[in-house]
Amino acid sequence: MYDTLLFLHLLAAFLLAVTVVTYTAVALGAQTSGRTLFVADRCWDVGGLGTLVLGIWLALNLDQYEIWDGWILGAIALWLVATGLGVRSRIGAEDVSAERAPLMHWLRTVAIVGLLVLMFWKPGA
């Protein structure tokens, strides 16, 4: 059970990487097709939901972790920040100007790397 959950949790995290890499290319000036951005946005949706649900499931599945552990609460908070920034990074997002979308993307990228750091160092665990 743990192995399967971890595999699916990792796959979801890799989907987030697809979005981050694609939007990094856009932020650096690459021309992408609408279909590429559509797939990147769907990867963000599925990967975001997958990492959260499967991550919480993993924490509940292991006796040595509790859902209220500091690093898990921190990860959930960072996930919420990354999700909010991700919505504002989308090309053509209604409430964000074209100039600010790259900034939102870079902040989102920092949040994702921060999440990854929390997953490996697990401060307080």
Binding site: L10, V21, A25, A30, T32, S33
Partner: protein, 155 residues
Amino acid sequence: MTLLAAIRPDDWNLPLFLHVLGAMTLVGSLVLVVLSLASARGGDSAAGLRLGYRALLLGAIPAWIVMRVGAQWIASKEGLDDLDEPPAWVDIGFVTSEPTLLLLIVATVCAGIAARRAGEGRRAFGGLNTAALVLVAITLAAYVLAIWAMSTKPS
């Protein structure tokens, strides 16, 4: 194994972090390559080919190096590189990572030549684009297998 995976010595964290960060960037870059090269087949040829080529050259290959260095570092920390018969999941990792570098280099060359031809307005790039696309798709399939092996650690 579950407990070992969940609780590990602190000095394993950095190499494992680098390994996974490199792998995530690698897979993200390769999916971008597939989408870009596929869009080049659909009509947006020059821009799609250029992005696919650059994602391979500036994204996938450097990320492969970070992933592979991280893998060797963590294998050394865990003492896995000294074993006469390493576990199957380690073998799967090596078998899927090293040959795919060659595939990535060939795909980069194909995509680069195709992008140059498309930029010059020549139309003879379809075969090179397809070749790069197929090589990258094979590589991606191998990496999904590697992710499964790394996370489930079959003996």
